[in-house]
Amino acid sequence: MRLMRILPASVVGLILFFLAFPIVVVAIVSFSSATYLTFPPPAFGLRWYEAYFSNPDWLKPTWVSIWVACAVVVLATFLGTLAALGIARLPKALRVVAAGLILSPLIVPGIVVAIGIYYAYSRYGLVGTPIAMVLAHTCLAVPFVVTSVTASLSGIDPRLEQAALSLGATPGATFFQVTLPLIQPGVLVGALFAFITSFDELIVALFISGTGAVTLPRRMWDDLRFQIDPTIAAVSTLTIVLTAALMGAAHLLRKRAEQNRMATSSAAP
C-alpha cells in the first residue's frame, strides 16, 4: 500500500523534472564563463549578459520587439474589449460567426496564417515595416483579449447595471462607472497576453519582418542557424523571466478577480 503511494509520486516527480529541467539548464548555461556551450559550466560569470547588453545587433531587435508589442497591446486591447462588449449582446447566429472569425487564429496552423499575411502584405509594400508586424500580431493577440474580457463580463451580476440605469445613470455613465471597473481585471489580463503573444511570436515574423523590422525571436532564429553560443541562453533567460513575470501577474489577477466574484455573489442572497 505504501509502495502504491510512493510509486505514482515518483513517476509524477520524474515527469515534472522533464518539464522543468530544460528551462533550468538554459538559465544555468547563460551564467557560464565558458566561450562555448558546455554543461555543467566550468565557472560562472555574466559575460554572456554583457555580450548581449553591449551588442547593438541584439539591442535593436529587442527594442523593435518591445515597441511592436506595446503597439499591439494598445490596438488589440481597444478593439478586443469593444468587440467583447458587443459580442455578448449579439443574436446567437451572428455571435457564433463573429466568435468564429475572432478566435480562429487559435486553431488555424501558424504557417497558414503567416504565409497568407505575407502573400497579401507584400502586395502593399508592407513587408519589412514595424507597422506590418503590429497589424499582423494584433490579429494573433485579439483572441486572448476577447476571451479574457468575455469571461469577466459573464461573471458580472446584470442587476448591477440595471440598478445603475434605473437610478438614472446614462448608458455611458453606467459603462464607465459600473461595467468597466468590474471587467478591468479581464482587460488587464487580456493586455498582458497580447504583449506576450506579440513579444514571443516568430512564424509571422520570419516571413514579414524582412530586414527593416527584425524582432528579437527573429534575431535569435537567425543566430541559431550559424551557432548556438551562450548569448542566446542569456537572451532566452531574460525572456523567460519577463514572460513568466507577466504571465504570473496575469494568473494572480485572474485568480483574485474570481475570488472577488465569489465573495460578491455569496454576499448577495
Binding site: 515527469i15 518539464l19 539548464v25
Partner: protein
C-alpha cells in the same frame, strides 16, 4: 426595403416612437463588434483566403493542383511524417500527462508548486524551449555526456536533428495542453463516488479503472484533440531540432513559399487547414468534449 414596408406600417405609426429607440439600441452590439470584425477581415481573413485561392485559380480556375497530390510522392511522404509525428507526440503527452494531472488534482499543499512547474514551460516561448532541447540533445549536450558518464554508450550518439529530437521537444512543449483539460475533468469528479467505490470494497486500481478513468474521458478527449491539432501545424520545433530529411507539412509549405511556388504552397495549406478543421468538427460532436474545450481554453 423600408419603402416596401411603408404602407403597411403606416397603420402602426402610433406605436413607432416606442420601438424606434429600441431598434437603435439593438444596433449597438454590432457597432461595438464591427471595428474588430472589419479589422480581422482586412488584415487576417481576406489575406489567408486570397492566398488559399491561389490553389484553385493559378493560372486559371482549376482543381489540377489538388489532383496532382494523388501522385505527389513528396507530399505523401510529408503528410505521413506529419500525421505520424502528431500521433506519436499526442500519445506521449497522454501517457506523461495523465499521471501529472492526477498528481495535480490530488496534491494538497504541493498543488501550487506543481502548477508552477507545469505553467513555467507553458509560459516560455516555443523558440526558447526548442533551443533548450538543442542544448540538451546536441553532440556534446547534457544527455550525451550523461549517457557517456554512465557507460551506456561509448561515443556520442546522434539525437539532435533526428525525428526522436522533434518528438521529445514537441511532447515537452505540448504536455501542458494535455494536462490542463484532464485535470479539469478530474477536478469535477464527485469525491463521494470514489469514497463509495472503495467503501464497497473496490481496490484502488478498480476504482481508477471503473470510476475515475471513465469520468475523466471528456478531459482526455479534449486534451488529445487539442494536442493533436496543435501538433499538426508545428513548424519551428521540427525545423530547429528535427532531421534535415524529416520534413513536416508546415516546413514543406515554408519551403515552397521561399521558391515562390504559391499555387503549391496554397494547396498544401488548404490540405493542412482542412485536416485540422475536420478533426475539430468531429471532436465537437463527441459528448462532453465541446464543454471541456471551452473550459480549458480559458
Amino acid at each position: 426595403m423600408s419603402e416596401v414596408v411603408q404602407p403597411a406600417s403606416l397603420a402602426l405609426a402610433v406605436s413607432r416612437p416606442k420601438t424606434a429607440p429600441f431598434d437603435w439600441r439593438r444596433a449597438v452590439p454590432l457597432l461595438l463588434a464591427a471595428p474588430l470584425l472589419i479589422y480581422m477581415l482586412v488584415f487576417y481573413a481576406l489575406p489567408v483566403v486570397a492566398m488559399l485561392l491561389r490553389s484553385v485559380n493559378d493560372p486559371t480556375w482549376t482543381l489540377s493542383h489538388y489532383a496532382t497530390l494523388f501522385d505527389d510522392v513528396v507530399f505523401q511522404k510529408t503528410f505521413w511524417i506529419t500525421i505520424n509525428t502528431s500521433v506519436t507526440v499526442t500519445l506521449g503527452c497522454l501517457i506523461l500527462g495523465y499521471p501529472v494531472a492526477m498528481g495535480l488534482v490530488r496534491a494538497k499543499s504541493m498543488a501550487p508548486f506543481i502548477l508552477v512547474i507545469i505553467l513555467l514551460p507553458f509560459w516560455t516561448s516555443v523558440l526558447v524551449r526548442s533551443y533548450a532541447w538543442m542544448v540538451l540533445l546536441g553532440r556534446h549536450g547534457l544527455v550525451n555526456e550523461g549517457l557517456l558518464a554512465l557507460g551506456m554508450i561509448d561515443r556520442p550518439i546522434r539525437i539532435l536533428n533526428t525525428p526522436l529530437a522533434t518528438q521529445i521537444a514537441m511532447i515537452h512543449i505540448l504536455l501542458p495542453y494535455m494536462i490542463l483539460p484532464i485535470a479539469n475533468a478530474l477536478r469535477q469528479i464527485d469525491p463521494s463516488l470514489i469514497r463509495a467505490a472503495s467503501g464497497l470494497g473496490a481496490t484502488p486500481f478498480m476504482t481508477f479503472r471503473q470510476v475515475i478513468l471513465p469520468l475523466s474521458m471528456s478531459g482526455v478527449a479534449a486534451g488529445t484533440l487539442l494536442t493533436f491539432v496543435l501538433a499538426l501545424g508545428f513548424y519551428i520545433t521540427p525545423a530547429m531540432v528535427g532531421g534535415p530529411r524529416d520534413i513536416t507539412l508546415s516546413m514543406l509549405i515554408a519551403q515552397q513559399v521561399d521558391q515562390l511556388n504559391w499555387a503549391y504552397a496554397a494547396t498544401l495549406s488548404a490540405v493542412l487547414l482542412a485536416t485540422a478543421l475536420a478533426i475539430l468538427a468531429v471532436a465537437r460532436k463527441l459528448p462532453g468534449v465541446g464543454n471541456a474545450f471551452k473550459t480549458s481554453m480559458r
